[in-house]
Symmetry: C2
Subunit: 380 residues, 2 copies
């Protein structure tokens, strides 16, 4: 008998108190009781994004908020840079195309984030670029991009908007929207926010609003102008996912109580523990710039992913994520994003050893758990 344990980058584990809060009798979304909760959420979500700007709640997945960031911002035939270094970076390109923009691609190997120089070079080549679409934490490869430095460098001589997919970074990895002068930042609910999927959040700077106001409306449901108008009276333009908003509000209270800096530190610590444990077992990471939200580990030579994953999942109850696209079957991804602590990570490395042993991979027994335990002990 092994319990079920989830180590996927969304959904992430939902704290019991949030699940129980959401299980209470449903209320109506135009009632004062709900409006009060939504008002509280609208304050606390700013803290999550480290912004004084309004953050809009969309009833959609994270991709819905990505679509909102393109559809409300890019007019037909306007140029926008995006970085194709993973499945989610690639998605920015698909969205820009869908809405008639001209995508300017920076192609990178998976695991290799864009450099400031690469972006500056392109901005200089195409000064007419209206926005740069970035992925803070690329979930497909477990890679972090230095959006702080990119934003600083770009804004020194360009009005191009910095649009950040923060889906697996907001609430997990340091991100300061105002201080870093980011223009649009978005996330989904089932990530660092620790609630089930169904909501997305999008924060918009004054610079971004100027551009949005000059952009032709090409979305109704995801219109940020409509969202802004509704929010002025404390509402959403359409029926929101009521229970998820109630859950998100609880989650934000938990994050405020822990303190956002502590949340970032915890993720950094858990991620480092996992990296140390994985490397001690002789395994290699895909990424040159590993994200603190998720660790992509290359399958060792001669080990079949399916067999390994079957052992992990069906014998030991652990669900991790596999590789995507070209990396299907070539890597597995351990999430440490959201509601996790040290002991979850120790359990994960212990289970990893169990599954590796089952598929005949040779390693020094207990070397993974020793390594992560030693790291945690040294950093108590």
């Amino acid at each position: 008998m092994f319990k079920k344990r989830l180590f996927t980058p969304g959904p992430t584990p939902v704290p019991e108190n949030i699940m129980l809060r959401m299980a209470k009798s449903i209320i109506h979304h135009r009632n004062p009781e709900f409006k009060e909760i939504f008002a509280e959420l609208n304050e606390n979500i700013k803290y999550l994004f480290q912004t004084t700007q309004d953050v809009f709640t969309l009833t959609s997945s994270g991709t819905g908020a990505m679509e909102a960031s393109v559809a409300n911002v890019i007019n037909e035939n306007e140029k926008a840079i995006f970085v194709n270094g993973g499945k989610f970076g690639e998605r920015w390109g698909q969205l820009i195309k869908t809405f008639g923009g001209i995508p300017v691609e920076i192609k990178k190997d998976w695991g290799d984030p864009p450099t400031v120089d690469e972006i500056i070079e392109l901005i200089k080549k195409y000064p007419e670029v209206k926005a740069i679409f970035l992925t803070h934490s690329e979930t497909s490869s477990g890679t972090i991009t230095d959006i702080k430095e990119i934003s600083r460098a770009v804004h020194q001589f360009s009005d191009a908007l910095i649009v950040v997919d923060g889906i697996t970074s907001v609430g997990a990895i340091e991100l300061k929207m105002d201080e870093w002068d980011l223009d649009i930042v978005l996330t989904g609910s089932q990530k660092g926010l620790m609630i089930p999927p169904g909501l997305a959040f999008i924060a918009v700077s004054e610079r971004a609003w100027k551009k949005i106001n000059q952009t032709e409306n090409r979305t109704f449901y995801l219109s940020l102008k409509r969202a802004k108008k509704a929010l002025e009276s404390g509402d959403t333009p359409w029926t929101p996912a009521i229970t998820l908003i109630i859950g998100a509000n609880e989650a934000l209270k938990m994050i405020k109580q822990e303190g956002i800096e502590n949340v970032w530190k915890r993720h950094s610590r858990l991620a480092e523990g996992i990296r140390i444990g994985v490397k001690a077992l002789g395994l290699n990471l895909l990424s040159k710039s590993p994200s603190n939200a998720i660790t992509a580990v290359l399958m060792p030579d001669g080990i079949e992913f399916k067999k390994f994953n079957d052992a992990l999942k069906h014998e030991f109850g652990i669900t991790v994520a596999g590789g995507q696209e070209n990396y299907k079957g070539k890597l597995f991804r351990i999430s440490h994003l959201g509601y996790y602590d040290d002991f979850d990570m120790i359990s994960m490395i212990s289970a990893l050893e169990f599954a590796l042993k089952k598929v005949g991979y040779k390693f020094e027994p207990a070397s993974g758990v020793s390594a992560i335990q030693n790291y945690f002990l040294l950093n108590l």
Copy 2:
């Protein structure tokens, strides 16, 4: 941020599916829907006790079932042996006295179980003894008593009843009521049965029924005759703890699915892992005959229990049990009883190292987690 994790010998962790089942709208206990559930429980509980005899459900704690085992069995001035080698063995003596019996005490040091010879010697000295009250797994000291051998030896020449407190053994440690010829076996709900406290279960042999029928009624609520009469029509004599019975029924389905032998093996494995981990850290066990339900660990010299426990609980979210009576402040007890798996045990040993480090105890870092991980790996 550390999650709350419970390692106490009751309540033990309750599986989510059981909690959710119990949270459904309440039903009435004389309705067919409830009677069907209770009938199913009454079949499955026999499997838990490994008996074909009826097992009675009392709405009480385990102590209520202990009281029923004395009040229904021992007449005034009848002799009964009990073993005082821990807080719960001692309780048998208090109960025998309360109901006017004459307790014949076997006094043992905590952690030292009674031997077959000690009991046989007393039975020979007092052939008029009506019953021997034993504690299978003594929770206060983490000690297992060989009730199988005691029962075999006693029944070779005596009709004295073998009454077993199986509170922390039933559903955790091998116990075969019929095969071992035990007369009364009882347990509580918040132990191996993995549900919250509030129910006790008591199984009664034919030999025991003969004695009960010759015993004066000195309890109304806990009358086994009344329980038997009610059970004949599929009922309880008094209002039962409805939701707990529904939960117990779910728990029994889980135990049947895992298989009782597998449940025993799992507890043996988890307990051995904990013992190996604890010893690797240089700590000592109290018991000479350790129980697979709970491990009592002596506080190392110079370490204050309160400081250690505060670190474990308040810094790392782990609740263990302290020592009782003379061992208050001198030991801590790790439960591995009920709904636990390997990774829970690894987490426990990891946390133990964290707390020991915090209070300045010297040990080879990660030696505990290495030891338990190696044991589990060798026994996958």
